[in-house]
Amino acid sequence: MLPKEIEQTIEAATRRYPQRRGACIEALQIVQRHHSWVSDDDLKELARLLQMTTDELDGVATFYNLIFRKPVGTHVILLCNSISCWIMGYERLREQVTARLGIAFGETSADGRFTLLPNVCLGACDHAPAMMVDEDLYGDVSPATLDPILHQYGCAGTPGKGDGERTTADHEHQAR
């Protein structure tokens, strides 16, 4: 069962569309914000709320790459693999992330902390290569700045800055 407050947020979302199903992509996101992914049970519940069949809703859920139908780690890394980032060193960055976390695209680290996913252009090409961790955007990511970023989200294998506190230098690498 979905908690009452989630149901209420979804109800509010349906009021922004003339048909209940108009809110289904938003509803999937609302569930995902709470459960980090959309399970089969959640999907069934949602379909009932939105007056859709489960298959219909799954057809939508599986179309959109930012709806997760499999469990993900505590933090989701979206690494831009589009053209400007590719030019500016995406491949090296990808190798470094993979080496640090021991995961390839689509995988979750053994400790359940990180999931690594490719993403199309993040609209930060003037700061390529770029990536997002959860809702935070990072631009001009270099081999030197990647480790402190990962460290910030609790990657044990990466050196932090000094005692590992978040420093202002970390924030300077945020694109905007």
Binding site: R16, Y17, P18, Q19, R21, G22, A23, C24, I25, E26, L28, Q29, L50, G59, V60, F63, Y64, N65, L66, I67, L78, N81, S82, I83, S84, W86, I87, M88, N119, V120, C121, L122, G123, A124, C125, D126, H127, A128, M132, E135, L137, R176
Partner: protein, 426 residues
Amino acid sequence: MGNERPLTMNIRPGEPPPDLKGYERAGGYTAVRKALRDMTPKGVTALVKDSNLRGRGGAGFPTGLKWSFVPMGEEAPRPKYFIANADEMEPGTFKDRLLLEGNPHQLIEGMIVGSYAIEAEVAYIFLRWEYREAERLLTKAIAEAYAGGYLGRNILGSDYHLELHVHISAGRYMCGEETGLLNALEGKRATPRYKPPHPVISGLWGKPTVVNNVETLCNIPHIVNNGVEWFKGLSDTRDSGTKLYGVSGRVRRPGVWELPMGTTIGALLEEHAGGMRDGFRFHGLLPGGASTDFLTEAHLNVKMDFESVSKAGSRMGTGTMIILDDRTCPVGFVGNLEAFFAQESCGWCTPCREGLPWTAKILQALEEGSGQAGDLERLALHTKFLGPGLTFCPLAPGAMEPLGSALKYFREDFERHIRERRCPWR
């Protein structure tokens, strides 16, 4: 009179955008006032038509003309919808982000005026999920606009009503295509729809709907405030207004700038982006995102406007250029693009669903040194079979633009991959 850079004059990178008070102090929402008080909806559309404003999302369709197709008056189907396409996802494009984060009220004002012009009751901002900061700022600005009486019922005491919502999308490039976007907004897979009927006649939930790009809409308040002649005077060319141009790749200062429409490619590259970085030479460029044809050194004097770029054999697209340098492999470059398009194909029609992965595989094979005689001919064949008119939507023909032009301008580089059985850049 207006400013030379109307769209960005109130944007200070690194600072929060103007709030309602700040925006009003800078002359904000006077266009809504003027339109609702002194102009008829048809009058607004006529003004925008006269201004010669063309869509800034890539296709360049005249905005006022689009609005003029919407059925008007008592008989028109209702509600009508007005949508801002803020799903900026064309690889290499990062201009709308600046407008969304830098001055959300400007977009909202443009949307109110546009909605009034077509007598829309409901408006949506279709925003890609990754633009988190924009969502936060837009939500706040919309609440302020409601509180200020610019949205909701009886706007500024008139009998015009408008509700404005933000729709947060969940990925997929197809959402940027007008009819794919409509399906996504209806809570469906973002496959494109058959046209006709065009969305202006039968769009969202079968009702008349206008979809405009963010940058396009940000021009509207300024056109209403300052008039057609002023707007035309901003430009260095026959297409009116300013344009947000961007440059990315191995240049000294990648970035985005508002400049007169028609600024030349060379000026953008040298004066604004600071030229190539030390140790890198210019080899070519895509003028406006992934789905535009390559241009080369011979085109540095070309003006970046719709007409001039298309005369040069490409398209201005989104106006955000991607630079290919001499130390980046053109085959790898195009391979990255085709892998993107293959991934983002919605799978609806066969040439695109089957053809794009095929081109991506051939390009990958060339990169890995396993290219074969005949590969370049096979690639060329695809540029024909996936060309305009042979697929259900423009994704596939768009994907063929960089490929076809690369085969033309960088043929020797492609041939070397086959001859030497390796990528000379690796």
